[in-house]
Structures are given as C-alpha cells and as structure tokens.
Symmetry: C2
Subunit: 621 residues, 2 copies
C-alpha cells in the first residue's frame, strides 16, 4: 500500500464528504532510511533494556559512525517484520506488570464511540489484544509519583541512555568542549544519568508520557534540559482521510523524526481508527478528548457535559492514549476578553468550551472538575497537556489579555495536577511576531513552575499561507532556544487543508531543523557532532556521506542528481553550483595544504594583526 | 518559451559540460499576480515620477485595497508589452541626462569577454542601445555625493514614496499606532520623506544602487531604517544553464519579490548573457567581477592581476551593473587564520584571493588598489558590496578569528570608500548558530559605521541540505530583525546544485517571509497592514481575499483546492482541516456575536481577574 497525494485525491473523489468508509490498514512504509541502520544499545547494568538509535556509517575510515536519536520504532529495522493486526512488541509489558496494577475488564464499547454508525459502515478495530490495567487506589501509578518517591523506573533508565546518544566517545567529548550556547537558564548536564531524569520529573520539569495501557511505547522525555522534541499531528476529519492513511501518516511522521504524534481525528470511526494507531505506535500518542466528546453529543458544544467527557477520558485512557489536551484554562471570565480580537478563538477545543461557558453562563466544567480529571488521568498515567484554548490566531492578537489570563490559569492548574500525582506539560503560542516570543517563554516558566512548554510554532507572520511551516519554523527555532521542550509542527497546508504525506514529511523535517538549531544554540553537549561530521564530509567532497548525514538523505541526493546526473559526479570534487573550474571548496583544500606548509605563518599573521595590521596605504596619498 | 526544470535537464543531456550554446531569450513570464493589479502613483509635486505598487482589491466593501511593495517591474502589468531585444523603458534617462555626465564611446568588446569563443558559438548580445556615460572629473556622480552635498535626487524622491506604501490612510495610521517592535537602535520614521532618504544616504546608512548606465532601474533603498530587502542570485555555471534561462530567472525572481538580483555567472558568453539581464532588469543587478576576471586568465587564480581586474570593472560598469562584490577584505595575513577551519574558505571570491595572496606571498591587490577601485566605481555610481570572503561555511567556523578579522578590514575600507564618494554595503554571515547571530550584527554596526549589512542567511545548522532555505530563513529573520538591511536568499538546492525555477521561487518567498517577520518585529509602521487584512479575511472566510493577500496566491489556492476541490467550498465557512461541523472559526464568529451582546461582561471579567479570579475550589477539599 502506498498513500500518495494523488490517491488521497482519488479517494476523495469517490467518497464525498462527510463520510468515508475507512479501510483497515494492511501495510506501511518500512525499511531503514538510506545510509542508516537501526542499532539497539543497552545501558550499563540493564542488559534487557534495548534503546534504539540510528547509526550513519561514513566512508572515511577516520570518521566514526554518527549515532542519532531515532523515534521511528521497529519500522526502520532492516528486516522489519510488521504485522499491524498484532501491533508492535509490548516492550514495557514486564515493567508495567511488575508495578502491581489492577487488571480490569474495562469500559464496554458503545455505539457512539464510532459515531453511531450502522454495523456495515464501521471500520474494523485493530484485533491486537493487550492486558488492560488501572492503578489501585492508594498505590503509585505515574512516573511523577515514582520520581517523587525516589524510584528510578525502567522508563527513566531508558530515557537517560537515549538522551545521551553521542555524548560518549572521543568525538562527543571534543564537541562538548566546543559547545558554547546560551541556554537562558536551562541546565543541560554533560551526561544524563537515570537519577537526573528522575529528579527532572520529580521537579515537574520533564515528563515521560507513557500510559500504562500503551506498553508498545519507546519511552522518551519532554523537558527543557533534554533534546528539544517535535510533535506531528495526524487525524482524519469529516471531509477526508481514513484509518489506513492515518496509520501510514504515523509511521511516515516518526520515520522523519516526530517524537510524539497527536491524533486529532474528528470524523466517525474515531475509536476504531485510534486502536490501529495506538497498537502500532512506538511514540506517545496525544489526543484532544473533547473532539470525540463533541461527536458523541451530535456536534453541538452546548450539549457537552461532564458525564460524556468523563466517559471519553476513560475510553481513551483505556485504549492507551499517552497525553490528553485538556482546555481547562478557558474560563467563563476569559471569554469576553476575546470579543475584540481580530481572529477570536482559533483553538477548536477552546472555542467549544467558550461556547459552552457562554451558552450556559457557567464556569467551565473542565475547570470545576479538574480534580476529578486528575484522578482519572493518574490512574493510567496519562499526562496532561494543558491546552491553550485562547492562543492567538493572528499577529494582531499575540500576547493579549485573554492569552495571558489563560496562561495564568494554566499555572494554577499545573500545581493542582502535580498535587494529584500527574505529569503535566503546557501548550502555548500560535501566531506571535519575533519580538513577542521571549516574553511567552519567560511568563510560562514563571507561571507554570518550569513545567515543560509545548508550543505550536509560533507563526511569525500571517501573510504566507502555503508556507506556514516556514513562518512557524522561524518562531519554533527561537522559542525552542529560549526553553520550549517540544515544538508542535505546522505543515504547508496549515490554514488551507489537511496535510498529505508530503506535507507531513515537510512539516517534520522543518521542525527537526528548528529543534536542532535550538539544541545547538542552547549548547547541548552533543548537538554539534552531526553538524561537524556533515561539514567535514562536505569539505572533503564525500557526497554520499553528506547525503546520509542529512535530515532527509533522499531529497539531498535527488537535488544533487537533478543537475549532476552522472554517477561519476557523485565522487566529483565540485558541484553544479560552480562547476569544475571554480569550486571554492577545491581551491581551499589546496590552500589548506599550502597554508599549513607555511609553518609559523599563523603566528606571524596574529602578530601582524595585533600590531594593527597597517599594511594598507591609500594609493592616492 | 517556458523554462521548466525538465527542459533544463533536457538541455543538459544534449550539451555536456563545460559548454552551452546559450540561446537568446525571446519571451518571459508576464501578467499580474492573480488577484493583484499594478498601479503607479506619483509623489506630491512630482507628477512625472511614477512609482510602482501592487494593489490587492478585497471582496468586502468595508476593506480598503492593500497596497504592497512591488519590485517586479513592467512584467506584471496587465497588458505588459515586453520586447527583450529593446529592453525596458529607460525611466531614469532624463534624470541622468540632466546631471552633466560625459557621453563616452566605452571600452571595445574583447574576445575574452565571452570566454574566447569562436564566432559561431557566441550567444547574441542584447541589441538594445543605450547612451553610455561616465562622470566628469571633479563633478559629483554618486547618490552619496549628491546626498552629502544636500541635493535630493529624483531617485531619493522615488524611494521615499515607494517606502511609504501603506503608511498613508486611516488603516495605516491605525496599524502604526499598534506597531510595537523592538528595533535594536534602528530609527524607522513614521513617514519617509525625500529628505530622510537623503540624510540616510549621506550618513552612509543607506544606499540606492543605481549605475548611471542602468537607466531602466526602478530606484530602491537598502538601509536598516527602510523595509528589509531580499536579494536573489541567478547565474549560469560551466555545467548548466544559458541566457534565456537566466533572463527568465530574473523576471521570475522579481515577480515573487526579489529586490535585487545578483548575476553570478561563471561560464562562457558571460558578457552577452549579462547584456540581456541588465537591459531587461528593473531591479539593481549585482555581480562579482572577479568571477569574470578569472575566466579571462583561464581559470587560474594565481594569474589574476590588477590590469585584468580593472578592465573587468570598467567592462561591467559600462554595461550598467549596479553593485560589485569586491573581496578586498581577504588580506594575506588573514589566510593562515583559516587553515584549521572545518570548511576552510567557502566564498568563491574569497578562496581565489586567498590563493592569489598565498601563491605570490603578497598583500591582496584588491586591498592595495582599493582607492583605484573606488575611483572607477564612483565614475558610474556602482555601489560597493564589500565581500565576506572569509564567511563561515559551517557551524564550527562561525564567528572565528578570520571572519572577524576580515570584518574589521571591511570597516576600514568602508571609510575609504565613503571618502572616495562611493555608496557601500557590507556582506556578512554564512553558517552561524542562533546564539552567535546578534554579535555579528552588533560588530558590523560598530566596525562599519552603520553601513547597510547584507547577509547570506545565516544558516543555523549544517544538517539539512535540501532544506537550506529553511535553515537559513530562520537566521535571516533574526538578523533582519537585529538590523540587517538586505537578506541574500538561499534556495533548497544550496550545497547541492544550481536552482531551477521552482527553487528560485521557493527561495524568494522564504526570504520575503523572513524580511517581513523582521519588519514586523522592528515595529515598521506599515508592516502589520497586510497581516491584519489577511487575518480579517481568514476570520471572515473570505477565501479569495486570503489567497490574494498571500505572498504566493497560486500555492495557497492550489493547496486549498487539493482537499476542497468544489467551487462551492471557496465560499464555505470551513476548510478540510476541521470539516463543516467543527470549525473553530465558525464557532467563534457566533461566539463573538454572543459575547458582544453580553454588554458589560468584559468589564466584569476584568474585575474578576483583578480580584484574583478565585472561582476554582478543588473538588476534593
């Protein structure tokens, strides 16, 4: 099965809105990224914990292979044996089983979970079976609770090893010595220990989103003292897309580097589509439960209530969703503050809750029932992603009273969630011009006690629909540098339509650029290893190494081959930008040899410059 | 004629490197950008000065048309009558003729100007005839000299009107009141007067690159108190591309918003290809004369000398090139400082001069003859673009001793050029991580007396070949905000190959985003007009207005139509992201009406929040 944009369109043409018969997936993209291989490595003293990395071997024997962070799961193994109907291996099963949770029967599936469809239109659920668990009353359940109790979980050991990547070995040590960023108060350690992970989680400064009913997840951390992470959104809507496409989008997004994936589906078959996604996802899955709750009440936000919402939380928590966006910061009193905005409330969840509050003229039930929400989420270790329902949808609305009033409420709720034993991160930005970005970060750190910030973009101008991956990639790099822990991607289709396969890839790569630029600028001890390896390959005309070290080897190789099609040119000491005669790299390679031969010349030149360098005498004088 | 990438490839296959028979252009892309029309407006008291703008009419009668800056020249007129063999109208002819320059015969064409090709392989030169002029000894020639003498030229009047764009009218006044940027010491006026332009040029803080032999140019300013500008590079190389393609790339680049274009050609027929470009360019054209000088000495930098370089300067100045990149800052003593760099010297001109200096073990002839260079450039008002031959080519080399030693030399040369009556800008960056960008700007302002900074990118990481428009767009937005006057674009093909038509467009749009994000952040008094107009269109579901206000209406429209193909959906109050039921924009539009109906509610909510907003009582207590 391949899901090219043209097929998406063909499917659309056959099945008019608003309903699609969603096919069950049968296969997805597998195999390593060209030039890389999947390796697993165990932390010292934990031989049974297999942490995945992607290793890029280089053609120069003097160059060690470069090991990069790899969220792509078993799909990129060379001999990947994927059976979507069985789901991924439940690598956490043993760890979870050892923690003494209750095995429960679980909530029975209800017709409204899949949009009250007749049987012949219901998409098949993923048949993979997993033991369903929930925390016992009075027993610890969440990574936060274990961390607070001083317990280092297997997930923390896993994450520590994963985050260190190239921080071991001579090259990494050299790079660490060169790391010279400005981290704005973050405290990246030279080396990540399991105890460091524990202390960051206990402090509320990091989370490991990992539902006890998602044993397939490869643990990862979100926090400003770890690598900056990237989230990709997938999800069908009433107008387009089905189950097969969504699973392929998940696999495709993590292949290119998405660290978590949010399923923002709003159409029918939502429960069953989600079952395929979760059983086959090695990355944490986030959702916005109110989207499904709204489906259950026929699409009218005014009809939402606590019972249907609570039921949806339990439904999704039992399925294994790792984090929930909860828009509990949209309070009744905030809503009128948005009335004079240029673009009002652009968050779907935020607008639903605002509608509810106004229609009933009551405080938000999410806010009033927040303790009960905590109790449910704690039971499965679902992390909070406190939603920014009032994020600005335009440059004009950035940093306004309603946005910051909500952020203050999110700060208040963060403490409630921690008191309830839950892991928490905070959602932010939207459209924010460059000069208003930093205050968002500073205010979030202050209000929310350094809980991880998770921002959309921000988009730094409104005038480029079709290129909002770029308008927002600019803002994302900056806010990541300032301390945001995870960047929610934006695709080229933002504001215009649902992303296809190419858009998902473009969005993920753009955000990997932003995250890496931020890691470099923060002075991450290992970030420069890959830059330096690629730059050395570039200088040495090791074209294949340059392609393989790129975030997207396929595109780099294709672009090169478009103007230099011959195989001989892959080893050429020039490219089509300059041609063989003018290549500056070639000139400087020769130059270096000459300059180095001039022993002592460097010293002399320094003396010369220190002396003022006054060789120049204006010719006219 | 259309120049699609596939044709470029076909041409390549037929004509192996290093030679192309370059066809003469016959036609280029014309007609307005969809949804826009070209308008000309005259400044008060100057009815004969026709300043071009692009006007976007909106469908809502309450919304005034949005007038945007337009460097695209007559090509985007509705009934554009373009004859490439006659060149564009010489709009400055009368102004220039009135300044008392000598009419000269000019230098005779030499065989080496086109690479010593036999007659049957020489591409035709553009047959358009122009009066050839040079300054008389002792008479003022440059915009800098006129400005210093207190004279406001027609070019300054033109530029003032052009820069004001939407700064007139009620909407602009409202926007100006809202402008709240942080300009880091720039001093953007509320309104640009011709006298302000003169004073900025006299102060050396801005330039109007406009060779007296390029009467077709529509004057534009480069300076940090004006709109941030974008340069696009075109140019054939020995491996690919010919005259027809280069003229089309010029027209294509300015269509999407390039303010100046550099012709970086290095192949044969270089003189004749340039004649087509200049005669048909409404934007300033920049070159790197040493590229052609190198052609004339058979490609060996060691054989370069002052005579061949001087001859090339005169050749190109007489043709009408508006600014020259001169790598006079690469001094003998700087070269050994680069020996231990990861990527050495990546500037082509820089590496040539470094090679020359080392081979002869002599100070650079560009540096030693700088006064003579000034005298030649002054005679035609060719502006200096002082080249950064030692810019860093990798994150590892950013802000190193050689880069900053050269910048100090450029500061010294800036003062020499001013003393010689010349306009000057300074080239900068390359590869620079986020946290090292600002010091580049601060140092440039300090060393070069606020002469305009003109930077490549900077690229904020090395690991994304194929996406370097994005790695560099991030850095460009930041350095533009900090004060860079013009941003040199980078295309997706950077480091990999020569850009085709699509790459040029992508590069230009990306850099228009960066420049606009910078203008917004600097608090430009009119920058937000377009953002706000687009955001209002978005909120009102005026899809066509949203497309037309976009930097690239074609792509925005196409992306929308891919998932919402029906015409009816162009007026739909939803898009495929959410579908008809969940649209947050739709919900908030309803919401706004309700919220506004709740008179006084906003006041009440403020009181509530001021009082601490303590409605929340934890349910468990």
């Amino acid at each position: 099965m391949s899901l090219l944009p043209s097929e998406t369109k063909a499917q659309l043409a056959e099945t008019p809105a608003p309903f699609n018969r969603a096919p069950a997936p049968d296969s997805v993209t597998t195999g390593p990224i060209v030039g890389s291989r999947k390796v697993y490595a165990a932390p010292a003293a934990h031989p049974n914990i297999r942490v995945p990395f992607r290793e890029i071997a280089l053609s120069d024997p003097k160059e060690p292979p470069v090991r990069v962070y790899d969220p792509s799961g078993p799909y990129t193994e060379a001999d990947a044996r994927i059976d979507l109907r069985r789901g991924l291996p439940a690598i956490r099963e043993g760890w979870i089983a050892g923690r003494g949770f209750d095995v429960v029967a679980g909530r029975a599936l209800r017709p409204e979970d899949n949009g009250n469809l007749p049987d012949d239109r219901i998409a098949e659920a993923c048949p993979a079976h997993r033991t369903l668990r929930a925390a016992r009353d009075g027993r610890m359940a969440t990574q936060y609770e274990f961390a607070r109790a001083g317990i280092v979980t297997e997930e923390m050991v896993y994450v520590a090893h994963r985050e260190n990547l190239a921080r071991e070995g001579a090259h990494a040590e050299a790079a660490a010595r060169l790391a010279d960023g400005d981290s704005f108060g973050a405290a990246l350690p030279d080396f990540v220990t399991p105890e460091f992970v524990r202390s960051e989680i206990a402090r509320g400064r990091a989370i490991i989103p990992a539902n006890i009913n998602h044993p397939e997840v490869e643990p990862m951390a979100i926090g400003r003292n770890f690598l900056v992470k990237v989230n990709a959104n997938i999800g069908n809507s009433a107008v387009t897309s089905g189950a097969a496409e969504e699973v392929e989008k998940l696999v495709w997004a993590i292949r290119w580097g998405a660290d978590t994936v949010m399923d923002l589906s709003t159409g029918r078959n939502i429960h069953n589509i989600r079952s395929w996604i979760i059983r086959n996802s090695p990355v944490p899955i986030g959702t916005v439960p109110i989207y499904q709750a709204l489906e259950k009440v026929g699409g009218d936000p005014v009809k939402l209530d606590w019972e249907v919402f609570k039921d949806t939380l339990i439904e999704q928590a039992e399925q294994g969703v790792d984090y929930f966006t909860i828009h509990a910061g949209v309070r009744l009193a905030h809503v009128p503050l948005t009335a004079r905005r240029v673009t009002g409330i652009v968050s779907r969840g935020g607008s639903m809750m605002a509608r509810w509050c106004l229609a009933h003229h009551r405080e938000s039930f999410l806010y009033e029932r927040f303790d009960e929400i905590c109790a449910i989420m704690r039971r499965y270790d679902v992390s909070f992603s406190l939603g920014d329902g009032l994020r600005p949808g335009s440059i004009a609305d950035a940093n306004d009273a309603s946005q910051f009033a909500e952020l203050e409420t999110l700060g208040e709720l963060t403490k409630v969630a921690w008191a309830g034993g839950c892991q928490v991160m905070i959602e932010g930005p939207g459209h924010v011009p460059l000069h208003k970005i930093k205050v968002n970060m500073d205010k979030q750190l202050a209000e929310c006690g350094e809980a991880p910030f998770y921002t959309l973009g921000p988009l730094t101008t409104d005038i480029a629909p079709g290129y909002d991956h770029i308008t927002s990639g600019i803002g994302a790099a900056m806010i990541g540098w300032f301390g945001t822990a995870m960047l929610c991607y934006v695709t080229p289709k933002e504001h215009l339509g649902l992303p296809d396969r190419d858009d998902v890839k473009t969005g993920v790569i753009t955000y990997r650029i932003a995250a890496h630029a931020a890691d470099l600028a923060k002075g991450h001890p290992a970030a420069r290893v890959r830059d330096d390896a690629l730059s050395r390959a570039r200088f040495d005309f090791r074209w294949e190494d340059q392609f393989n070290l790129a975030l997207d080897p396929d595109t780099a190789r294709r672009f090169h081959d478009e103007t230099m099609p011959k195989d001989a040119h892959k080893v050429a000491h020039f490219c089509s930008m300059c041609g063989p005669k003018f290549c500056s790299m070639q000139i400087t390679q020769d130059l270096r040899r000459e300059a180095e031969a001039m022993a002592g010349m460097e010293e002399k030149s320094k003396e010369f410059l220190d002396g003022g360098g006054q060789l120049y005498v204006p010719a006219a004088e």
